[in-house]
């Protein structure tokens, strides 16, 4: 096809490139890109371009990070994760813990409209409306009547257009029956399906944000959040500029109810994904905060002023395929757990992390102010026990009637850090047990697909808390969980989880959940590895950024910058 014609084609290509350059309306970013000079403008990196800023439908982390600065729900979490009054000035809880009455303050949208209780009712109904397919809607499941909407089976409009149209009426009825009401513009009454001790902090999440009803209805759900002109803000900042894949800037929202406590004039947020480039930008003072220092640059920052290391509510583990011919045997699962030197792993492979001695991270509470971890105790040893591992492996094989272990594959999403972790695990299994494991490192979507199809023996995976309660981890393994991808079902475990749900008090509930976790750690359908930490740093003169354990990563509301 190309043969001898290249010279001419190439010249044409070059000419067209030059022509396009001459005609291109390039935006000159020099003025905004020269960061770190303007007074009280914080320079940060969003990481990537947020794929849309519709708080109702998005589930993207970058979108959450942006939205948390420009929007506010009923509450906003403080550094300890305790809900503080947001758009709600105060609230009361009914005697049985089912009804919450929120008293809204006289807050305004950035366009001057009042934020009313109806804006919450509208937003939550939209999030649960099956026709909007809101990706984070599961967070609303605790509200009475939400479950019917979440599990509503929506007819396919392509094949059953009449049934789809008819479903609209049904959905409207279900939405009307949802446990959220606005008796007057300043009062919001929420009824939960059952007492949920961890529910209140969830009201700070993006999917619980209000929506400026009249505007959003005029724009349409599809356009809402696609562009700052199709957004109303009720948070500390508003979006002042958004150039896709380049920068997204914020400026202080003068209409925000607590504007007196917002010190920054604005935020300049670039979109840089390369870890090395982010490091260079920080080293040259063009970034004021690194919310997450890439592991390969950790040693550069550790011990320097501004460096912080705070625990996260996440756990990394090996998910075992309990339908695998070998791993269906618990002794073999135990053998693999015993062959792991968690202390060495945490100190050498993932510096700064804590070796996991259970599944639920120590940052998680089973009731406000009551940590869950002590109830479970140190179940998994920090070091490997090669002799025990070999014995359990041999016993397990004998029980299965096998002489050799079938091929073991370790599936993982490829990245510089996960590849390193897989190599370390491979080495430990080889050295401590004489088992050679085949590592399959693939891109994230392929990883998710293979995992869903059960095409693995072991998976290197992680889970982060959606809310501050052990059930955010333990629910994953119950029979009814939509996220239970391992198809592990254990009667004792399910019974403990069931008991916890109907426990009369917090202490009883904590004990039931701890019993469930101990059962899980005895059966090991997942083998916990480590609990990661957030390693972050801020420039001298910058302070006040609040990091969260759940939901969006941080709040910039109270940040001050004195340089």
């Amino acid at each position: 096809m190309f043969g001898m014609r290249r010279p001419v084609a190439a010249l044409l290509a070059l000419a067209s490139a030059l022509f396009l350059t001459a005609c291109g309306h390039g935006v000159d970013l020099a003025a905004t890109a020269v960061a770190g000079s303007a007074h009280a403008v914080l320079n940060i990196d969003w990481g990537t371009d947020p794929p849309g800023l519709n708080p109702i439908t998005t589930d993207n982390n970058v979108s959450f990070d942006v939205l948390n600065q420009v929007m506010e729900g009923l509450t906003r979490l403080n550094a300890q994760g305790v809900p503080q009054p947001g758009i709600a000035a105060s609230w009361g809880v009914g005697a049985r813990g089912l009804t919450y009455t929120f008293h809204l303050r006289h807050a305004l949208w950035s366009n001057g409209d009042p934020v009313q209780a109806g804006d919450f009712v509208y937003a939550w109904r939209q999030a649960l409306d099956p026709r909007n397919a809101a990706q984070d809607a599961s967070e609303l499941q605790y509200i009475a009547g939400a479950s019917a909407l979440l599990h509503f089976s929506l007819p396919d409009p392509k094949t059953h257009p009449t049934a789809y149209a008819a479903a609209g009426t049904q959905i409207s009825h279900l939405e009307a029956a949802l446990g959220v009401r606005a008796p007057n513009p300043q009062t919001l009454v929420v009824t939960l399906a059952r007492p949920t001790p961890f529910w209140l902090p969830l009201t700070s999440l993006p999917v619980y944000f209000p929506a400026d009803q009249s505007r959003v209805m005029a724009w349409g759900m599809g356009r809402y959040g696609s562009n700052p002109q199709y957004m109303s803000f009720d948070g500390p900042f508003v979006i002042s500029a958004w150039v896709h894949n380049q920068y997204l800037d914020l400026k202080k929202n003068p209409k925000y109810w607590d504007a007196a406590h917002v010190q920054l004039a604005g935020v300049h947020g670039v979109m840089v994904s390369s870890a090395a480039t982010v490091d260079n930008l920080y080293q040259t003072d063009q970034l004021d905060v690194l919310p997450s220092i890439p592991p390969q640059f950790l040693s550069e920052y550790r011990g320097k002023p501004g460096f912080h290391s705070t625990p996260l509510a996440q756990v990394w583990y090996l998910q075992v395929n309990v339908n695998d011919p070998a791993f269906k045997n618990v002794l073999i699962r135990r053998a693999f757990s015993e062959a792991i030197d968690r202390a060495a792993f945490a100190s050498k492979v993932v510096p700064g992390s804590t070796p996991a001695y259970a599944l639920t991270p120590p940052t998680v509470d089973y009731a406000p102010g009551r940590p869950f971890s002590p109830l479970v105790g140190h179940v998994l040893p920090p070091t490997a026990d090669p002799a025990l591992a070999r014995r359990d492996l041999a016993d397990g094989l004998k029980a299965l009637g096998l002489t050799v272990l079938p091929r073991v594959t370790l599936l993982l999403p490829s990245s510089s850090t996960t590849d390193l972790e897989a190599a370390a695990l491979q080495g430990m299994f080889q050295q401590n047990m004489g088992v050679s494991v085949q590592v399959e490192s693939v891109d994230f979507k392929t990883f998710l697909q293979l995992m869903q199809q059960g095409r693995y023996s072991m998976v290197l995976a992680a889970w982060g808390a959606d809310y501050n309660d052990p059930t955010t981890f333990l629910d994953l393994f119950t029979a009814h969980s939509p996220f239970n991808t391992i198809h592990w079902s254990d009667p004792a475990y399910n019974a403990d989880m069931q008991a916890a749900q109907s426990a009369p008090d917090a202490a009883r509930r904590g004990a039931d959940l701890a019993a469930a976790e101990k059962e899980l750690l005895a059966q090991l359908p997942v083998i916990p590895l480590y609990w990661p930490t957030r390693n972050w740093t801020e420039q001298p003169g910058v302070r006040g950024i609040v990091f969260y354990l759940t939901g969006p990563d941080y709040s910039l509301k109270g940040v001050t910058k004195s340089r």
């Binding site: 397919a133 979440l150 979507k445």
Partner: protein, 307 residues
């Protein structure tokens, strides 16, 4: 001539059809879909799959895509709600074009100068300098050069921006890093061709009859030495486009390459197809133009004796 043009036109269209069809098929063969995410409940994921028509049999999705394409629509992104593929390409194209043109511009110019210097000073200092430059340019990957340049000029000396796009200073380092390989290639080609020409009798004659070096250079050496450069410009332009992926990432440049890579990782089908269709149209369009020009130049083709 009319029949010839018609034949070429048909060929181009068939090639375009084949490229789109193959991309469509291969893209759906890779595991995963745009809505596969660990935190999205299966019921909600299914709703999204239905909404975007990914539940339909592949052949129907394929026909629907063509129906849209024939109406002139490249579709809407499945990952960025409401953003059209046309918008995304429109935003990234000027950036990629500018970067590529700058990289090729400086590297080809300097490559010719360096090659000629080496040819004139064979086996002397300039020749060795050119050789060293060529070996470095060819053997060190452009992302290593980019990282090194960024560290020295942006982080240490603070002469140029670390990353970003917009001002004239922003493209200096990426265009330099991107052009290193073409500099090496072009300088070598010119050096060898130039050295050969310099040894030819007619150059010696020209020199003997007192023609100044500048005239020899312009009239004899440069013209001959340029021929292989022209031949390689095509592959070079392609290499510059492909090679810009890593550069775009390091310097956070919002170009077409990064949009393409992101769309593949996200399985954003309409964007993958849109960018592929765009690339294909540009390449095939140029080929078609070349075919037409060949027809104009070569009378035999006009008479209908193709190939």
């Amino acid at each position: 001539m009319g029949r010839y043009l018609l034949g070429r036109c048909l060929r181009t269209l068939v090639a375009l059809w084949a490229i789109i069809s193959l991309t469509f098929l291969v893209m759906h063969l890779i595991p995963g879909n745009p809505f596969l995410a660990p935190q999205v409940a299966p019921a909600i994921r299914q709703r999204l799959i239905v909404r975007y028509g990914l539940d339909l049999p592949l052949w129907r999705q394929y026909l629907l895509y063509w129906a849209g394409l024939l109406r002139g629509s490249l579709g809407v992104s499945m990952v960025v709600p409401g953003r059209t593929v046309r918008e995304m390409i429109g935003a990234a194209l000027p950036v990629s074009a500018q970067l590529g043109a700058e990289a090729l511009g400086w590297s080809v110019t300097l490559g010719i100068v360096l090659g000629l210097l080496a040819a004139f000073h064979m086996n002397r200092t300039w020749d060795y300098v050119a050789l060293a430059v060529a070996v470095l340019g060819l053997s060190v990957p452009n992302f290593v050069i980019a990282a090194l340049l960024d560290y020295v000029f942006a982080v240490r000396l603070r002469l140029l921006p670390v990353a970003g796009w917009g001002g004239p200073a922003h493209s200096v380092l990426p265009a330099f890093a991107l052009g290193c390989m073409s500099l090496a290639l072009v300088s070598r080609l010119v050096r060898f061709q130039g050295a050969e020409v310099l040894n030819l009798d007619y150059v010696r004659t020209a020199r003997a009859k007192g023609l100044p070096w500048s005239a020899i250079l312009a009239r004899h050496v440069l013209r001959n030495a340029m021929l292989p450069v022209l031949t390689t410009l095509g592959p070079l332009a392609a290499a510059v486009v492909v090679g810009s992926l890593a550069i775009e990432r390091i310097f956070a440049i919002p170009g077409l390459g990064s949009a393409f890579v992101r769309s593949i990782l996200d399985r954003d089908y309409p964007v993958i197809l849109g960018v592929t269709v765009f690339y294909a149209c540009v390449l095939l369009g140029f080929n078609f133009l070349v075919d037409v020009l060949y027809g104009v130049v070569d009378p035999r083709i006009r008479l209908g004796k193709e190939d």
